[in-house]
Every structure is written in structure tokens, then in C-alpha cells.
């Protein structure tokens, strides 16, 4: 150490900072928690990137991310539950790993207070990269947690911050894995997991070696290592139990601490979550009155105007079609329903654009998501609908009456409600 010009601490002097006494903290426990995160966090990151891709070309948020974009894959419509899976795993697994992340931070915290605080340039850079790692994982967790509960206290764009934060995380995580993997493998080999799971509190002893992590003067153990692992796993199970109801319909009441544990009373068939009420969207009730409302189809040789009666009884030209599809939101909830309406591809043919490059759907909602483009391949999918009914009942006003879009494997925000017009584009 003297080569780097840092003098060792004088003999007998106690390094400043808190004294860590836990007898079970050590490289082995840290490595076990690390392996769980090594498997879990990349899944959260990749499903997050897939959710970004699912917004579709030209509609991703943030739009301009330079080189930080996933490879140019088009999010497929089949299987229809693909987006439901990626968003559910991203949000669900992200939440379930929070106890593991907190335990991992607990297990390595003594390393934050090492003495001397900086041993070399390499050590300084490594500590900076750890600030990026810890900052980004906590930042991603906190913004994600706030977003799924509709709390925008942070005052910046959730999408932009969460997306760019994810790239900082992925970079810092990759660096950390490369640097620490050898030490983690050594630590895992130092003790047998099987033996550790058979060791009760009465035989729990501190780890033999481990530099900064093992306490110099350990306290009397009050919990075995297997107990600590069970506590962390139990925390994850608890979060899982309180979250899974957002996706698994019969368990919906279990998510009683989340907005998506509740479903609106509403008219029959409409008992599934709403992400934007008609009142919040400022929908003018007279404009969506079934007597007044007309659907405009544009993009063909001449505009086509249809009323609701024609859509419900369009004859051979515009038959009603029923499809069971999930409505899935990037905020972590989903609901599978049976939708009835007319196929987008039949509407395209009626408009005179049988093979459109895309369909731009405009809503009576003047907000940012009141306009969305459906890619051509998805317009032509046999289950892509302008839905009029759900589970055999008219859509409720909050679910987009008189008509909404529902297409396979699509972010809920692009299943536009209160549809006003559809423009089929050739290019």
C-alpha cells in the first residue's frame, strides 16, 4: 500500500466509522444473495427493454435515446399474451427482488466504511462505479414503485428517467459482475449451501475469512444463516403475494395495498381496472352519445362514416368477431376479457386500404395518449378489433364506450378508448 503513498493506519488505532457486529455477515452470505440478483436482475432489465420495444416504432418513450436502444426488433403480436408476460415479469419480479436487494446492500455495507477510504486510483474508480450501481438500482426501484402507484412526486418524466437509469444500471451491473465474480465463486466454494441449511442457530459461527465484511468483534448470533436466507425469501414471498393479484384475476383482492387490487363496480362485464377515467380524460358525454357518435375511416379514396348500429350489424362486409385477449398495462397489471367488435382489417378493406402500413387511431381524449399508431401487421391480425362489447356487454364509458381498440400483445395505453377516427396509411 505504501507504493500508492497512503500510510497504513497506526497500530492500535480504530478506523473511523460505525462498528459492524453481525456474526453472519460475510462473503458467503453476500455471494448467495449476489447469485439470486445475478439471475433475477438481468431478467428485469431485459423485460423492461422489451416493454420499451412493445410501444412500437415512433411511439417509444423516450423517443431520442441515441445509441441506447435495443436492437431493431419488432414486438410480435403472437403469442397474444407476450406483452402481458413481459410487463408482468418486469414489474412483478422487480418488486419481488427488493428484499434481496436490501439484504445485499445490508450485507456489503461495511465495505462502504473501509479505512483508508481510498487505497488507489483503481479503488477510487471502483467505488465510483459502486455509487452508480447502488444509485441506479435504488433509483429504478423507487421510480418504478412510485409509478405503479401513480405517485409522481419526483417531478420528472418517469419514462425518460427510468429508461436512462436502466442503462446506467446495466453498465454498472456488468462492471460489478466482471469484477466480483471470481470472489463470489471463491466465497460460494468456502461453505456448502446444503450444510449451511442444516446449521441451526446454536452452531452458527462467523465466517473464517472475508476482509471487510466479517466483523472483528462479532456479537452473539441471534439468527442462523439459513434463518436470514429464510427471512429474505419470506420478504420476497410476502411482496409476491401482495402483488400477484394485479395479474391473476381470482387473487385480485390480495393486492389490497395496490391500486390494481380494486376493480370498479361499473356495468356488467366491465369489472376490470381503468387506467384513465372518462372524467379525467375530459370526455364530452354528448360527443359519445350513441345517437350522435360516428366513426370516421380515412386514408382511402373517400372518407367512410359509420354509426354504432352499422358497426353492430354490418352484415357480410363487416361481421362481428369475438376474441379473448388480455388488456395489459406497463404499470404491472393485466386482465383477460372476451371482446366483441369488428376487425381492424375489415375496416381497412371498407376504407379502401386493404393492406395498410399502419392505422392511426384518434380518440376523443385530447391527452397525450389520445392518438396511437397500430403497425400494419397488427392491423391485419385476425384478432385485432375495434371492440364494442366486453364479456357480452356494452363497454362502459370509463372503458371507452362507444368503441375502443384491442389488439394482441399490445401495451394497454395503445388500446385507445373513445375512438373518434381511424386513418389507414399506405406508407
Amino acid at each position: 500500500m505504501t507504493e500508492t503513498g497512503t500510510a497504513p493506519p497506526p497500530r492500535g488505532a480504530r478506523p473511523p466509522g460505525p462498528r459492524f457486529r453481525s456474526p453472519i455477515r460475510g462473503p458467503w452470505l453476500t455471494a448467495v444473495l449476489g447469485v439470486v440478483l445475478l439471475v433475477g436482475l438481468p431478467v428485469v432489465a431485459v423485460t423492461g427493454l422489451l416493454d420499451y420495444v412493445a410501444y412500437g416504432p415512433g411511439q417509444q418513450i423516450p423517443g431520442d435515446v441515441g445509441l441506447l436502444r435495443p436492437p431493431g426488433i419488432v414486438f410480435p403480436s403472437d403469442p397474444p399474451w407476450l406483452f402481458r408476460l413481459t410487463q408482468g415479469v418486469h414489474v412483478g419480479l422487480g418488486l419481488v427482488l427488493i428484499p434481496v436487494v436490501l439484504a445485499k446492500l445490508w450485507s456489503v455495507l461495511p465495505a462502504l466504511f473501509v479505512f483508508p477510504p481510498v487505497r488507489s486510483v483503481a479503488h477510487l474508480l471502483e467505488r465510483l462505479s459502486l455509487l452508480l450501481l447502488v444509485g441506479s438500482i435504488l433509483f429504478e426501484s423507487v421510480t418504478g414503485i412510485l409509478n405503479i402507484q401513480y405517485d409522481y412526486v419526483f417531478g420528472f418524466s418517469f419514462y425518460t428517467a427510468h429508461y436512462l437509469g436502466a442503462w446506467v444500471f446495466m453498465a454498472a451491473f456488468a462492471v460489478h459482475v466482471v469484477l466480483k465474480l471470481p470472489a463470489a465463486v471463491r466465497a460460494l466454494r468456502s461453505r456448502s449451501l446444503r450444510a449451511e441449511l442444516r446449521t441451526p442457530l446454536s452452531r452458527t459461527r462467523p465466517e473464517e475469512t472475508g476482509g471487510d465484511l466479517v466483523a472483528e468483534r462479532p456479537a452473539e448470533p441471534t439468527m442462523s444463516r439459513r434463518g436470514a436466507l429464510a427471512v429474505v425469501g419470506g420478504g420476497s414471498l410476502l411482496i409476491a403475494a401482495l402483488t400477484v393479484g394485479q395479474t391473476v384475476e381470482p387473487l385480485r383482492p390480495l393486492a389490497f395495498l395496490l391500486p390494481r387490487g380494486r376493480v370498479p363496480d361499473g356495468p356488467p362485464g366491465n369489472d376490470f381496472p381503468i387506467n384513465r377515467t372518462a372524467a379525467a380524460a375530459g370526455i364530452d358525454r354528448s360527443a359519445v352519445d350513441p345517437e350522435v357518435w360516428r366513426l370516421e375511416l380515412a386514408g382511402g379514396p373517400a372518407p367512410v362514416v359509420l354509426d354504432r348500429a352499422r358497426l353492430l350489424d354490418g352484415g357480410a362486409e363487416l361481421p362481428l368477431h369475438t376474441a379473448t385477449l388480455p388488456l395489459a398495462c406497463v404499470e404491472g397489471w393485466s386482465a383477460v376479457r372476451t371482446w366483441t367488435g369488428v376487425r381492424l382489417r375489415d375496416l381497412a378493406a371498407l376504407a379502401g386500404v386493404p393492406t395498410p402500413a399502419s392505422a392511426v387511431v384518434t380518440s376523443f381524449d385530447p391527452g397525450g395518449f389520445g392518438r396511437a399508431a397500430v403497425p400494419g401487421a397488427r392491423v391485419l391480425h385476425p384478432d385485432s378489433l375495434l371492440a364494442l362489447r366486453v364479456d357480452g356487454h356494452d363497454l362502459s364509458l370509463d372503458h371507452g364506450f362507444p368503441a375502443r381498440i384491442i389488439t394482441p400483445s399490445t401495451p394497454g395505453v395503445h388500446c385507445t378508448k373513445w375512438v373518434r377516427s381511424i386513418e389507414f396509411r399506405r406508407v
Binding site: E3, P18, G66, L68, I98, L105, W106, R119, S120, V121, A122, H123, L125, E126, S129, L131, L132, V134, G135, F139, I145, L146, Q149, Y150, D151, Y152, V153, F154, F156, S157, T160, A161, L164, G165, W167, V168, M170, V175, V178, L179, T222, M223, G227, V231, G234, G235, L238, I239, L242, F256, L257, L258, P259, R260, P264, I274, N275, R276, T277, A280
Partner: protein, 155 residues
């Protein structure tokens, strides 16, 4: 040891890896240059790490140390150690409070109402009930363990 390793403190691969990592993070930060909320994002990024390290961690460590000290003293009188029967419900309550805080403290009520059609009124009560279930279950298990120990004469 090469001259590089002596000066830097690790091999050249180490430096290369860290520079690559910082480059990606720096590039992500560059994309925010035109964003008026860039400073806010930075404050939150560093802030969450600081809040964890200097508020949350010392807080739960201090609570845990107080708990182990008190239960260590009680231990001489009782048979079954009480420490984990307090620690576990506390941890579960703390974890659920942390994850579901916005609803419990009714933060972001207006957005929540616009998004769901519901207010946030039930969450605090639901969470308190959950805490009561954690504490009650733990207490019940403690009583059963103590009774079992007294009957069989084990510790």
C-alpha cells in the same frame, strides 16, 4: 508488478472495464443535457443512495441493536428468546411500508383518482391491519413455543 499496476492499483483490464462502464453511464447522462429536469433526476439518483446509506440503514441497525440488547437482558428470565418474534413482524411491516408507502400516506391522490376512479382512503387501514396480523401471528407463535418449552422442560 508492472509500472502501470503500481501507479494505478490494478491491471489495465480493470481500468478498461471501468472506463467502458462510465462511458455508457456518461452517455446516458449526456442524453439528458437538454432536459429541463436533468438536475432533479441527478438529485434523486444520488439522493436515494444517500437516504439508504445514511438514513435507512443506520435507522434499522439502531432499532435492531436496541432490540438485541433488550432481548439479551430478557433472555436470563425467559426460556425462549423473544428477539426474532419482534424482529420478523417489524421487518415485514417495514418492508410493506416501504413498498406501498404512496398509498398508505395518500401521496399522489389526484393522479390515482384520475387513473383508477378510486381514492386512496383504504390503504392505511389495510396496512395497519396487516401489521396487526404480523404482530399477532408472531406473538401467538411465541406463546405456543413458550408453552411447549414449559411442558417438555426443554429450552
Amino acid at each position: 508488478m508492472t509500472r502501470f499496476t503500481t501507479v494505478y492499483g490494478a491491471g489495465p483490464g480493470h481500468l478498461l472495464l471501468l472506463v467502458a462502464g462510465f462511458a455508457v453511464a456518461g452517455y446516458a447522462a449526456l442524453l439528458l443535457l437538454d432536459d429541463p429536469s436533468a438536475l432533479r433526476i441527478l438529485v434523486w439518483f444520488v439522493g436515494v443512495a444517500l437516504v439508504h446509506d445514511v438514513v435507512l440503514f443506520p435507522l434499522y441497525s439502531a432499532v435492531d441493536r436496541a432490540l438485541t440488547t433488550v432481548s439479551g437482558r430478557l433472555r436470563r428470565h425467559g426460556r425462549i428468546p423473544i428477539v426474532n418474534h419482534v424482529r420478523l413482524p417489524l421487518l415485514a411491516s417495514g418492508l410493506t411500508l416501504l413498498v406501498f408507502l404512496p398509498g398508505i400516506i395518500r401521496q399522489g391522490e389526484e393522479t390515482h383518482l384520475a387513473a383508477t376512479g378510486f381514492d386512496q382512503q383504504p390503504y392505511a387501514t389495510a396496512w395497519l391491519l396487516l401489521v396487526a396480523v404480523f404482530a399477532g401471528t408472531s406473538a401467538l407463535v411465541y406463546v405456543l413455543r413458550s408453552a411447549h418449552a414449559a411442558l417438555t422442560g426443554d429450552r
